[in-house]
Amino acid sequence: MWPKKLIWQLYFSYLLLMGVPVIIVTWYAADTFTRFYRTQMVEELTARAYLIGAQIEEHLKGPEIGNVDSLCKVLARKTPTRFTVIAPNGKVIGDSEKNPDSMENHGSRPEIIAALDGRVGVSERFSVTLSEHMVYVALPAYKGTAVAAVVRTSFPVAVIKAALRRLYSRIAVAVAFMALLAALVSYLVSRNISLPIAAMKRGTQRFASGDFSVKLQKAGYQEARQLADGLNEMARQLSDRLSTITEQRNERDAVLSSMIEGVVAIDAEERVITINSAAGELFSIDREHAKGKLIGEALRNIEVQDFLNATLKAEGPAECELLLPVRAGGATKDSELFLQLHGSALRNGQGKAIGALMVVNDITTIKKLENIRKDFVANVSHELRTPLTSIKGYVETLQNGAMENRAEAERFLSIISNQVDRINSIVEDLLSLSRIERDAESKTIDLTPGAVRDVLSSAADTCRHKASVKGIALEVTCDVTVRALMEKPLLEQAVVNLIDNAINYSEEKKTVRIRGRTGEGGESLIEVRDEGIGIPAEHLERIFERFYRVDKARSRKLGGTGLGLSIVKHIVLAHKGRVWAESEVGTGSTFYIVLPAVPDETNAAPSQEKRPA
């Protein structure tokens, strides 16, 4: 049974309410009419019978029976009523319709029997004589005190029925008209009640679908108007709340998505609640589709999944670090990210855990710095220990008696002296490194414009002796116009270091070319190119780190401290420049230093000369 529409429910109950009484009343009225009509008929027939009876009694005083019959026929001419007069022995002596002689004995008719008894006989039955249904009323006619005859009046039932039928049809027409009217009225009334409700239904459906722009119209009866008012108010508040919620959500989303840290929240069923854009990028998750999915579907990384699961179960906050391999498609190199995960349980107002929250920090850079620092300490100790061990060894040998052998002792002492020099140079380099760093930080380096050529040639002069020992030629090419902001001694040291390196890693009879030129943007470019052994590509990035060595044994044999390039880098940084190296194994390496352009100096000087006095 489906729910009916209100209008039809009202309409049908109205119809029922009106129809049932009308039908009952009509039926009752018709019944009463019929009874009334019949009683009336019988009474009328009785009255006629009395009237005729009086006349018949007159006739009966004489012996002529034939007169009775003719009287009947005369009287009946005026009315549709049939008159019959029957002798007490049942013989018909007069009839208005037929010849009494041809009629059978009527003594057994029920009304006759009643009349012969002195009562009024009434009956309704089929008349054999006339072959139709008739109503009979019979009365005794007296001669003195004895019953001399029975006077009977009769009327055809068909006539009564026809009359009644006419009556019924008129009632039916009236009832039909009334019913039609009632149907119309009740339809109008129920429509009137249900229309505002239907309008409100449409309105609330609109509200439910989130459209609060159109208000409900106030129409119809008082309750409907009040209801519409109430609903409108509700809609207004609802729309306010919704916009507040949307605003809050937008704010939250904005905060989450502008966070550099990745944020992932899951519920107790391990389904994703939120993933912010940083986390989406880190784990390459499609955020649109991830919402509501199992974390195992969205974030395919076992360690992260395990961490989140553990966080869900754990009471307190959790923390872990993991290595995330990043596959960069195409030419870019695959790399690894160090991630630090912080997790804590999400709790609702009652303090019940309803999920887990994970914040992801990319600590790759921090890790890298940390590693550099660790390496640095380890390297310094190692670098210092090597010469110290050898010094200690030789000193012990001397103590154990080698001092007696003068030649040996001198050799040992010179080795010890060498090692002390080495330690000294390491310490010197470290000190100058930290000095440059400190000066650069506190901005006490005094940069003045100067010619790059002077720096290059004096650096080459410094190294010329060492180069000539290996038979290496130093070529300096540089224009006088190449100028840069510099602190001359520092820049010279940097170039010396580069040339020194180039000499160290070149074989005999090669050339080291030192070039200075002005770049397109006005910056000055210094190049130191050798024809040495070259540097494998994977080391290029790291050679400027402290103590980083491509080949440890070889470097140490050549007397390097492992700090030369690091010093170069720091000097260049102090000059706000850049330094990098290009190399091919076997053919040689080139080191580049770029120093920023000298502001306005080259442009300002000639323009002043041109200006007319």
Binding site: E269, E270, H289, K293, L294, G296, E297, R300, N301, I302, Q305, P325, R327, D334
Partner: protein, 224 residues
Amino acid sequence: MAVHLQREIESLKKKILRLSTMVEENVERAVRSVEKREADLADKVIDMDKAVDIMEIEVEEECLKVLALHQPVATDLRFIVAVLKINNDLERIGDLTVNIAERSLVLANRPDFAFSSNFPAMMEKARLMLKKCLDSLVNLDAKLALEVCASDDEVDALYREMFEKVKTGIRQSPDSIDDYLDMLSISRHLERIADHATNIAEDVIYMIEGSIIRHSAEKFKQQH
């Protein structure tokens, strides 16, 4: 009853997802260890495979338990049947990954050897196929699964090419026959991994569409 079944299926889903992630990461690791010649990574692959094996048994037992206790029908039944098969394939991939890792261990101890140029392409393809078929499993994406089925041919072609290259390589320099054979066996394993990924993709399609497209993938594609 239905609620219980749903819960069991949910937990089953979590388990198969976990297993698939484990296998995927392991393949990733194995491929990396070959590329970078890192013995540590290869060791880790071999280590992790034990966890994969345990997980495989767990998933299978869970499937059987659900079948016996709940007598699932229609979609649920298809899901469990598909999971049973995918489970198998994942475990096989896990074993193949271990084989690759073992080769990688051997390679790591040998001097560098210049690999054929389409070797990284093959590794990348196989890895991507596995990733895609697992994505299609996760997202119930029949289209993506079909893509995986299609790219199996590419891997097969790469493998044939590799075979030819190894043959000519051995003829030219019989000294480095060991290296060539290792290369061949690794590419063979990769090809097998791609095959299993295709199987998984087919099972995913079966799970979604309810039709078995094995041996008639072409017909199925035309219908869609």
